[in-house]
Symmetry: C2
Subunit: 218 residues, 2 copies
């Protein structure tokens, strides 16, 4: 079973690593990083680099596709070659998935027209503007397409995929393997739960980060 | 504020990325990857490579030190140059931390002698054998040293650090920024919660992975 993780400049690393660490624990899975160009790809904040092992041409029929989010994908909303790859791999994939704003690329490629989908809470309007029915859920299933909300939601989504493909015991064993027994010090992980002042701080930080990324060298 | 993430061959990527994505969202933080040699470092299962930006010599006084876990560190339990670096940076760090079996390296360096600490549930005995008082907690604070349990526990630990350093509102905003509102399909994320059959499956998978890593080329 091949799992293709699409990387692009300024993607969010946790969107990718969460599902990678879950799916990679299953037997006979080949989790591969793929990008338009192989080699180091900078993450959203530009402080780290991940090596993309394969080019798009080299990964043509993955069983699972995972599209992570990241501010860098705003430059790819009209990037037809990437959309073409997404549409092509979706033709034969068992599951086509996204984490965070990765769903914007699925929508831009035309896969979410009129379909329910989720994304990072700050991008819900953008997702709707691209033709999806944007819903504030952590995970949304639409046939073979599964979209997850912001960043850490990719871990939950990947566990759900494990459950569907390998069964309950496998999903529980992987959860135990990564000791996923969350105990955050607060309960402010969604805009439906966080206090208004926290929402405003998070929104301002996101706007500042978006400006920084927009001004970063290509 | 400089945050140093130690990388080494066959480390667990999520141990590192979890805290990186949390701490990197704070203003004026410089999250830097450091290794004995700069350049690509393979993760635990060898399917991805992360670029280490700095060598140990280049990072001598980080404010926060994060040591991730990973089966590769079993080869470093007697690797004195690395222990020397850990002891040196701990002299001036505000916080010296570990995720998962990263605590084995803290213990091997002598930082945990007689101190409470935690680790991945499968390595609790190993941690004790290295002189620490191994406790089955998700996060353990001992003065300036904070150890976290397996893999995903690094996210919770990093949020705790944000709370301590930047305050409640900042920690809540970061939690919202990464939409950390966990909804795993099961509640089997610790051996105290998982059914016995799941524990045995996870244990067998870990043993198989350890054998694979032990046989991998250096």
């Amino acid at each position: 079973m091949q799992v293709a993780f699409l990387l692009y400049p300024r993607f969010t690393a946790l969107d990718w690593i969460g599902p990678n660490e879950v799916l990679n624990l299953l037997p006979d899975t080949d989790c591969v990083t793929v990008a338009e160009e192989a080699g180091p790809v900078p993450n959203e904040s530009g402080n780290i680099e991940i090596v993309a092992k394969k080019t798009l041409d080299e990964v043509t029929s993955p069983d699972i596709v995972v599209i992570p989010g990241g501010l860098g994908n705003r430059l790819l909303i009209e990037h037809e070659p990437l959309h073409e790859w997404i549409r092509t791999v979706h033709e034969t994939s068992q599951w086509t998935t996204s984490v965070c704003t990765g769903s914007l690329l699925l929508a831009a490629a035309g896969l979410l027209d009129g379909k329910k989908a989720t994304t990072h809470w700050l991008a819900r309007d953008v997702l709707a503007s691209l033709g999806a029915e944007s819903v504030p859920e952590r995970i949304v299933e639409e046939g073979r397409i599964v979209t997850a909300a912001g960043v850490s939601a990719g871990i939950d989504m990947a566990l759900l995929l494990v459950q569907k493909i390998w069964g309950d015991e496998a999903a529980q064993a992987v959860q135990l393997g990564i000791e996923y027994d969350p105990q955050p010090p607060f309960d402010s992980g969604s805009p439906e739960k966080a206090p208004q002042n926290v929402i405003e701080v998070a929104r301002a930080a996101a706007i500042a980060q978006a400006e920084e990324v927009a001004q970063a060298p290509g």
